[in-house]
Subunit: 110 residues, 2 copies
């Protein structure tokens, strides 16, 4: 029956998928890449570690905005901080970021 076929496809597909919690986490992870300010921050950090006010100047936004977004990036383990005197220097934490960027760029430049 067609109805059974439908049911089978649904059950079979569900059984092959990673568990739902993982996929929710995955979405939360990609959410971080879905904001242009954060994208530009990460992009700037490809070159070298930078302190907050440099980043703010590079992306052309308030220091406060940048601090908030850096916190988001920290929470997802995408950047790390190093304190040096009055300044906080941020750098990329994860080697997947570059590859994810590359994939994305390849896609949109097609």
């Amino acid at each position: 029956m067609i109805h059974d076929a439908h049911k089978n496809i649904v059950e079979e597909t569900k059984s092959k998928m990673p568990n739902t919690d993982t996929l929710f986490e995955l979405a939360d992870f990609f959410k971080v890449f879905g904001d242009s300010t954060r994208i530009r921050i990460m992009c700037a950090l490809f070159e070298q570690e930078l302190n907050v006010c440099c980043i703010a100047d590079i992306v052309g936004m308030e220091q406060s905005t940048v601090s908030h977004q850096l916190r988001v990036l920290r929470q997802e383990n995408l950047v790390k901080v190093r304190r040096d005197g009055k300044q906080s220097y941020y750098s990329l934490e994860d080697e997947h970021i570059q590859k994810i960027f590359e994939m994305g760029l390849e896609h949109i430049l097609e």
Copy 2:
């Protein structure tokens, strides 16, 4: 002077970055991955092409919700549709998707 050093870093970094428009597009592209419903839809489509009501059953959401999200995925060229009678069969359009998923999963499973 320290101030000049700052300025140099800012200008040099900016000059090495992709242009801003591209980075905004990139953010919009990743935005699509930042929703758990869309993530689960794409994940289901890794296995095989599926029609809308199968997808709705798999992700456990309204047909209408799924249709709306499929439109988003279509607009970013991530899925394609094939009409067969009353049904619309969706499949993945792009080979980058799998790699992006893999990178993301590797990151969150660390």
